[in-house]
């Protein structure tokens, strides 16, 4: 029996050497980690991330690899599922950094995962760029962590200024989800900006609800009676249609304004004609886009059958920023610690990067300085470019 064991192990050994000889990659490989919620509560976000990443990899492969300092490197994407959970995002990041030895990490998307994962990346001195997280803690005091979306303290005033100019409004109403960090944060930044403009008490209704609420009539009735000139509701595509439809049923005919969380193709499907003519601020406008943005949207649409929402576009930009940083680095030494540091420095020094979601430059905190776009939902249900607002 012992002989048999030895023989079978030897056989396996031979087999493994043979198999890995055909399957293994070369040494000139750059590995990039993607930490995305492929399963869990928000799989659509993970899907958008994955698709954008795969499209990017296609481009790189078509060019025969990533050109760094005159040498072509193969790129390998290591996509890890974080299940939309903080624990899993931490584990996935640790795995990417120490096990897969990636050069840098793209993701996680939502702040709930990006904040703890950012800690892991920073502790392990690995550059990480979150394409979507807006929580200040993600990059705060973390020199190794970057992000590509603009922050809520910027978006709040953008919407306030836009509404004041466009509608000539002086009294605002806000309806937001108190249990979700993004709407709550943005609602507060908006309120602050509005009250700076029009003084204390100019936000005449500041109404809240809790995640998964379906009936907003009580809050909307209050808002209607408050005499507000418009409603600002920084909610997600699943809630916005309900809010808009219920507001219209209650006889509300003044504007409703939203934020970048509106920017999903699902919004129009669910909302129908009710959302036509409404405005929201976001990272890019799909309809009427030109140049690289249009090219990206058309390619994505042709390949996956729907117009990419902001996660896809921001992930795309993030990957291109990562690519630029790696190329600016000049050379890949093969020593991970050195290369990671080089990429981090290159990221921090990126100036006026031309992305499909606008031009950006990183602050020392790792947050981008970039413009926001105001989008109008056209009568055909498309997101039309209306105006650009820059800091």
């Amino acid at each position: 029996m012992n002989k048999r064991v030895v023989v079978s192990i030897l056989l396996l050994l031979v087999l493994s050497v043979l198999l890995t000889a055909c399957g293994g990659g070369g040494s000139d490989v750059i590995r990039i980690g993607i930490n995305a919620p492929l399963t869990g509560d928000n799989p659509k976000v993970g899907e958008g991330t994955k698709y954008a990443a795969e499209m990017w990899l296609e481009d790189i492969n078509a060019a025969g690899g990533l050109d760094v300092g005159g040498k072509k490197y193969q790129v390998e994407l290591v996509i890890e599922d974080n299940e939309y959970k903080a624990e899993s995002a931490t584990k996935a990041n640790t795995k990417l950094i120490t096990q897969d030895e990636v050069l840098l990490i793209i993701g996680p998307q939502s702040s709930q995962q990006a904040v703890p994962a950012g800690g892991v990346a920073n502790d392990n001195k690995t550059p990480m760029i979150s394409p979507w997280s807006t929580n200040p803690n993600t990059t705060k005091d973390r020199p190794w962590v970057f992000r590509t979306p603009f922050l809520d303290p910027f978006q709040g005033p953008v919407i306030a200024n836009f509404a004041a100019e466009q509608f000539g409004a002086t009294k605002a109403a806000v309806l937001y989800d108190v249990a979700s960090d993004y709407p709550k944060g943005l609602a507060e930044f908006f309120k602050q900006a509005w009250e700076e403009k029009f003084g204390e008490g100019s936000v005449v209704a500041f109404e809240s609800f809790t995640t998964k609420d379906q009936d907003f009539s009580a809050q909307l009735t209050k808002i209607k009676e408050s005499g507000a000139d418009f409603i600002f509701t920084p909610q997600y595509y699943s809630e916005v249609p309900l809010i808009v439809q219920q507001a219209h049923e209650l006889g509300w005919d003044k504007p409703i304004v939203g934020s970048d969380s509106w920017g999903s193709a699902e919004l129009v499907n669910l909302c129908g004609d009710d959302c036509d003519g409404l405005f929201f601020s976001t990272h890019y406008a799909a309809a009427g886009a030109t140049g690289a943005t249009k090219e990206f949207i058309d390619r994505y649409n042709a390949k996956y059958g729907y117009v990419p929402d902001d996660v896809g576009a921001l992930t795309w930009d993030t990957l291109l920023i990562a690519q630029t940083a790696i190329q600016n680095c000049g050379k890949i030494t093969g020593d991970l610690a050195v290369d990671r540091e080089c990429v981090r420095d290159a990221l921090a020094n990126i100036k006026d990067f031309h992305g499909i979601t606008g031009d950006m430059t990183f602050t020392p905190e790792g947050d981008p300085i970039k413009c926001a776009v105001i989008v109008r939902i056209s009568d055909a249900g498309e997101f039309e470019f209306f105006k650009q607002v820059c800091p």
Partner: protein, 426 residues
């Protein structure tokens, strides 16, 4: 058709016999021997693991026995098998067999001196194995830490759901209270805290959770069964909403930046203390009273068991440990937010308890470790993972309704006994 099945069953039997004959050779190996074997194996991996893995065509040593990549890169399966065989199975088996006689003598001698000494030495060995194994790859470290925390959570829930026989859904709430309680101590209350504060913070977390348990226990223990389940579920939601509306702990944005004190030794020691205390609790008179209450409350009452006090104590005790685990969790992740402690957490915890086995300390350990490692190993499957794991749970509920290792006492002394005669395994 029949001939085929007969042949197959013959094959199956032959394999079983072969397996038994292999396994019976290790009948005389005590736990001490296995631990020494494991120590040698992880030491070997520490020394030559990486070059050996590279020789086999892998970039690094497989973190979790190769499961992480063989699902995506199946051509590495033989390499993974060879690696596991050469690095773990062969050294452990060889060392365990060779040292069996010495290990038996040592185990017996240690037990003669004192049980405590024997336990301590076994624990030191176990810790050494874990330490070296996780030292090779930091990814293993975080997996082991979270698994140890899961053990504490599962055990504490088993006290209520297993030993007391109620269906409590308030555990995420307790974990959340503990996590926030401990984080408030380490982040908000002190300007420049030292690690000495950590045990205190964990205890505070546990006490906060216990106070929460008292609040839910007072109204809900007038009810039983489904009603208690619903009240405790409501409690989880109340705690989540409460934290979302508390601005000083960050509201829905969560609380981050916990100091990095939950190192492996700390988590290990807390887990061991939890297992020890909970095991003693359930084997004490109070634990037996708890079982009596579960089986028939009226009868227990008639037999002079103070049912109300018994239930109350067990519930607060369970919440305390959930709170301590929450405190550890917060410091491992260095970030907590209310949304993490919702229904998903509840499902995870319940699955670990029912998978491992009700009314059993070993069961809880088995449940927590297996579901945690499985969840990690199957992650490359992405969405299929959520079909495979629930399917396993369903099969488990059909074939072993009370879980893998249910209704077993955890007798530490029996575990540490030397094995001289070739008796069957348990």
């Amino acid at each position: 058709m029949t001939a085929q099945t007969i042949q197959e069953s013959k094959k199956g039997r032959r394999f079983r016999l072969w397996w038994q004959s292999v396994w019976s050779r290790f009948d005389d190996v005590p736990l001490l021997g296995w631990l020494v074997g494991a120590l040698v194996a992880v030491g070997l991996e520490y020394a030559v693991g990486r070059p050996f893995a590279q020789l086999l065509g892998m970039r690094k040593s497989p973190a979790l026995f190769g499961f992480l990549f063989i699902l995506k890169e199946p051509w590495l399966i033989p390499s993974a098998i060879v690696y596991v065989a050469v690095m773990y199975i062969l050294p452990i088996a060889a060392v365990a067999k060779v040292t069996a006689a010495v290990a038996n003598k040592t185990a017996a001698a240690m037990l003669r001196i004192s049980t405590l000494l024997s336990v301590a030495i076994h624990l030191v060995l176990l810790y050494a194995v874990l330490h070296i194994w996780t030292d090779v790859l930091p990814y293993r470290l975080i997996v082991v830490k979270l698994t140890l925390i899961a053990i504490v959570i599962t055990l504490s829930l088993n006290v209520v759901n297993g030993y007391m026989g109620e269906f409590s859904c308030s555990h995420p709430g307790f974990i959340s209270l503990g996590a926030y309680g401990a984080s408030v101590v380490t982040i908000l209350l002190f300007d420049d805290p030292g690690p000495w504060l950590f045990p205190l913070a964990l205890i505070v977390g546990g006490i906060v959770a216990a106070i929460g348990a008292l609040l839910v226990a007072i109204p809900s223990f007038r009810t039983r069964g489904d009603y208690l389940a619903i009240i405790s579920l409501a409690f989880t939601f109340i705690i989540k909403s409460f934290m979302e509306n508390m601005e000083f702990v960050g509201g829905p944005r969560g609380l981050g930046g916990q100091p990095n004190w939950a190192s492996l030794p700390v988590v290990f020691v807390v887990t061991i203390i939890a297992i020890w205390v909970i095991n003693n609790f359930v084997r004490s008179i109070l634990g037996k009273a708890l079982n009596a209450v579960r089986d028939n409350e009226a009868a227990a009452d008639a037999m002079t068991v103070n049912t109300r006090r018994t239930k109350m104590t067990a519930f607060l005790f369970s919440a305390f440990w959930a709170g301590v685990a929450g405190g550890l969790l917060a410091h491992v992740l260095a970030f907590i937010n209310p949304a993490s402690f919702g229904l998903q957490k509840l499902a995870e915890v319940l699955a670990m308890v029912y998978f491992g086995g009700l009314n059993s300390v070993v069961g809880s350990i088995v449940g927590a470790v297996s579901l945690n490692l499985l969840g990690e190993m199957l992650r490359p499957l992405e969405i299929w993972k959520w079909i495979v794991i629930p399917l396993m749970l369903i099969l488990m509920m059909i074939y072993r309704p009370t879980g893998l290792v249910a209704f077993k006492e955890f007798d530490i002394v029996a575990l540490l006994q030397p094995k001289k005669t070739t008796k069957g395994d348990e």
